[in-house]
Structure formats: C-alpha cells, structure tokens
C-alpha cells in the first residue's frame, strides 16, 4: 500500500523533474483518502506550468481530497505562486501530501516552511527514475538529492523507485531498475522504501499505482 509512506502527518514528494512526482503524489492522496478523511494535497510546483496536480483536481475532489492549488495553475499566467490556503496543512492538523517542483530549484520553496514541517512532523521522499538522463549515473542522482536537501532545509526519509520508460515500460524495465535504485540508495545513504509499477508491469514486492498523467491521445 502506498499509504505506508505516511509515518507522520505530512508527506513531501520531491525529486529530479520528470521522475513521476505528481503521479506518485496524486496516487498517494487518492489512496490516503480511504484512511484519512482530512487528507489534503498541495501543489507547490513553482517550476513547470505543464502536467501538474491541477490536471487531477476533479478526480481528487470526487474522492474527498482537499486540493490546494495555486490560483494560476493551468492558465497562461507563467509566474510562480503558492496556493493561498497552503498554510492550512500546518494549522489544521490534517494529513497532507505536498507535491514539489523538480530539482533544487523546485525545492527552494520549502525553505520558508522548513521549521513548520519540523513542528508537525514530516516524511520527505525522493522519487527516482533510473531512465531519466540525469539519474543514469548514481553520482549525479546523489548530487541532486543532496542539493534538494540543502535547498529545502529538510531531510529525506526515503527513496521511491518509480523507474519507467513511459508507454514502453514492461516488467523487465520495472524489475530491472531495482538494482540501480538500490545502488543509488546505498550511495545516498537514504533507504529505498518503495518501488512502484502500474498493474501490467507489477512484480512481487512492488507497490501498484495508477497512471494519472493527462492523456492527449
């Protein structure tokens, strides 16, 4: 169950951009809605105006998830902004998933809230996809992980291995990447807590998630 990621009330999803952070965050919020009626998801992506949590706002709300979006998500306003209701996750005592933008640039926004995350208790996870160019070398992936910790002022609790090749993913891809994820986790000194796969590519020990990425065709 993906909800195993909740050790504290706040889960933060970070990583290199394009590793599937939003897909993980949305899956987690949808699943957590069964256990935690107070679940919130906050879209804190200040980096990329395309393919974001807002694409899933309808299905999330239908499951009772409180969706906190920046006012300008999916519009032509190309400026970084935070959801006005975002501080709710610190004051309301609710369970929350924070979906953060890619790389250290995306994680910088967390810095101003680091103390408040510390106060309520958080688990920050690094989403890893071995098939993204800058994760091909474990060395760079470790650099990226450390850079996110420096930028956010927060510590990673674990690594989520979300390795995939889009539509060309099969079991050899998902299962085959586990060794690389383990090597990365060992080099980073952060535990590998989960490997995800869609149902058709699932293998023993993985956590099954759904593809919630917006489909154009």
């Amino acid at each position: 169950m993906i909800t195993e990621l909740f050790k504290h009330k706040a889960v933060i999803i970070c990583g290199h951009f394009g590793t599937g952070k939003t897909n993980i965050a949305v899956n987690l919020a949808l699943e957590a809605a069964n256990t935690f009626p107070d679940i919130c998801i906050a879209d804190l992506d200040t980096v990329n105006p395309y393919f974001r949590t807002a694409d899933n706002a309808e299905s999330l709300r239908a499951r009772g998830v409180n969706v906190l979006l920046p006012q300008f998500a999916n519009t032509n306003v190309d400026i970084p902004s935070l959801p006005p209701a975002f501080p709710l996750i610190f004051t309301a005592g609710c369970h929350s998933v924070t979906d953060v933008g890619g790389n250290e640039e995306g994680a910088t926004v967390l810095r101003g809230f680091a103390e408040r995350y510390e106060q309520i208790g958080y688990d920050m996870y690094y989403v890893f996809n071995a098939f993204r160019p800058e994760n091909v070398s474990a060395e760079y992936a470790v650099y990226s992980l450390r850079a996110i910790e420096r930028a956010s002022g927060l510590r990673f609790a674990g690594i989520i291995n979300n390795s995939n090749l889009g539509a060309e993913t099969d079991i050899s891809v998902t299962a085959g990447a586990v060794v690389r994820a383990e090597a990365f986790a060992s080099a980073a000194g952060v535990p590998l807590v989960m490997t995800t796969a869609f149902e058709k590519n699932a293998f023993p020990g993985c956590t099954v998630i759904r593809d919630v990425t917006k489909k154009l065709f």
Binding site: G18, Y50, N76, F131, E134, A167, F217
Partner: protein, 354 residues
C-alpha cells in the same frame, strides 16, 4: 546506449549535442525553457558553450557569426521569440549559412499564452523573414522524432547550406517518452570550404555576406539559391500515411495534432467510417505531389491544426482543389481531443457530395 525517458525539449538538446553542435545561443521562454536549461547544464561538461544572450535578436545573430566560421550552432525559442529572430533568420538565409532553429510553439498572436499551438505554420513555411527565402521545416510528432529530426536538421542544413527549423509545440516539448539517440545514421557531408575559419595564407579569404551592390548580381544569387530549394523539394520530402489505402476521409495533420488524429482515425474506423491520416513530417518541402496522388483515391480531406486554418491552404493548392478540403482546429493554446476530431470525421463522412 539504452533508451532514456525524456521531455521533448531535452531530447532536442541532447540530439543537438550528439550531432556535434557545441554552441547554443538562446533566451528563455516557456514552453521551450527545458531546452536551454539542458544546454546550460550539459554544454560545459561536454566541451561546448551555452550562452544566454541578452535577447532573442542577439542570440540569432550569434548563430550567424558562429555558423559563418563553419561550426554547428542552434538557437531555440517559442513563438513570440521567433518573431524577434526573423531579421536574423533572413540574414542567415541570405548568407547561405546552415543552422538549426527550434520553435516550440505557443498560443498567439502577441504575447498570447504559454499553452501549445500550431499557429506559426504560415510564419515558418511562408515568411520566416523578409525576402525570397525558405527554411527547411521539420515537424516532429514524438519525443523520438524531436531527437532524430534534430540530427537530420543539422545534416540537411549543412548539405543545402540553409537554415532548418524544428517546428514543435508546447505539448511535444513538455511531454515525456522513451528516446533512442542511435536510431539514425548521419549523412556524409561536403567539407565547409566556404567557412571563415582562417585562411592561413593558403587560400583566398572567404566572405560571408548578404549585401549586394548590383541588383542583377543579387538576382543571380537568389535564382541560384532557388535551384538548391528545388533540389530540397525533389529529394527531401517526408510524410507518413496511416490507413489511407481505402480511406474516404483523410486527415492531414502534423506534430502533436497528428498523434491525436491517429487515435481519432482508429475510433472512426471502429464506427465503420473509412478514415485515414496523412502526416506531414516535412512542412517545407511540403508533400504536395504525394497529397495530389492521394486525392485521386479519396473523397475529401480535413486539415486538423491547432490554429484557425493555415496548412489547409497548402493542401488545397497541392491537390488543385480536386476534392473538398476543410479545416478543423482549436486555437489559443487549446488542444483538440480525440473525441472531437472523431466527431468531425463522422460529420464529414455523412455529407453527401452533390
């Protein structure tokens, strides 16, 4: 090298570096920015230079200077930025310099928006700058093609000594698909004997220029250049036909719209309508002859574009208006859905000719 999962913008950048392009000049703009970001991170590590210019105009003129020395260079932008580059593009074409220009299109006119569009088709194929000129215009429809057509664009540009454009859009730039960078073989190309790279007192000095004092000299130069364009038109047309053999209604599309249209063709076929897709891969040269042959077999064409109707006119001209050609489009950053294109195919197939 195994496949990687990449954004279209990243794939163009990586393909350019692998094509021996070590010079990127650009100015950031959504939805193209990952391309410059990738260049900024990779070029210094790989012996190249990524320079963020003070403006799009500066960037395109840096490309002019760099390519005059015989180096491969690339610049990228999105719609409003391409308009700014148009003077430089014309100078590059007038100087017979090869380069690659990337347009990751967004909604316009004016500042428009940041969501995907295809409304720069006319600009790219008809008037990318002032004067009698053409760019080679390649229209990728997948992240794989963002990579492979970038490699091809450099080769074509060098072979014909002219600028080549990758005409993409925000959706292709931002979406992620697997990509293999070893799927094409580079062409063998002539030596750049014209380059201004130092004559070392061993040959006459070369001059790169687009100014001519005598009108008849300029005319001769332009006429000669158009002979090269004829070669491009004869040799370099690329297109893909999908289920056109027995089709009544054929969609003509390129880029992301062709991907959506392909799904619509399948849906229309499932509903009993003989639909097909003609995908233009080169927009200049335009696959006019191929469309003309196809027009002998089909009942009508519909040009599906993310604009108010631009390529539709080239389709009409290509087929001498032999059968009806209509346009279906969304604009302003709105992407048509599979459902609405399917409905348009069904609507058109129900029209009785008379």
């Amino acid at each position: 090298m195994s496949k990687m999962l990449m954004k279209g913008n990243e794939a163009i950048a990586e393909a350019a570096i692998r094509s021996g392009c070590k010079l990127f000049f650009g100015y950031p703009i959504t939805p193209q920015t990952e391309l410059s970001e990738y260049m900024a991170k990779q070029m210094p590590k790989r012996g190249g230079l990524c320079l963020q210019a003070e403006s799009e105009i500066a960037a395109i003129n840096m490309v002019l200077g760099a390519t005059a020395s015989g180096a491969r260079a690339i610049t990228s932008s999105s719609s409003p930025g391409i308009s700014l580059k148009s003077e430089g593009i014309s100078y590059i074409a007038g100087s017979d310099l090869p380069c690659v220009i990337v347009n990751v299109q967004r909604g316009g006119p004016g500042l428009g928006g940041i969501q995907p569009a295809q409304s720069d088709y006319n600009q790219a194929t008809k008037a990318p700058g002032h004067g009698d000129l053409h760019l080679i215009v390649l229209a990728p429809a997948s992240v794989q093609e963002m990579a492979s057509l970038t490699g091809l664009a450099f080769d074509l540009a060098d072979q014909y000594r002219m600028p080549a454009m990758i005409l993409a859009d925000g959706a292709l730039g931002q979406m992620m698909e697997p990509v293999d960078f070893e799927d094409r073989t580079p062409r063998s190309l002539p030596e750049k004997t014209w380059a201004c790279c130092g004559h070392a007192n061993k040959r006459e000095h070369n001059v790169i220029n687009s100014l001519y004092i005598q009108p008849n000299v300029l005319e001769d130069i332009v006429v000669e250049r158009f002979k090269r364009y004829k070669e491009v038109e004869k040799n370099e047309v690329m297109y893909e036909e999908y289920m056109c053999e027995d089709a009544d209604v054929v969609i003509v599309a390129y880029g992301i719209t062709a991907r959506i249209a392909k799904s619509a063709v399948k849906e229309a076929r499932a509903k009993g309508v003989k639909a097909g897709l003609f995908r233009c891969i080169t927009l200049y040269p335009f696959p006019a002859e191929q469309l003309k042959s196809l027009s002998l077999k089909v009942k009508r064409f519909v040009s599906v574009e993310m604009n108010m109707g631009q390529m539709v006119n080239d389709v009409k001209v290509a087929i001498d208006c032999r059968v009806p050609v209509t346009h279906y489009g969304r604009t302003g950053g709105v992407i048509p859905t599979v459902k609405e294109i399917t409905e348009e195919i069904l609507r058109l197939s129900a029209i009785k000719e008379g």
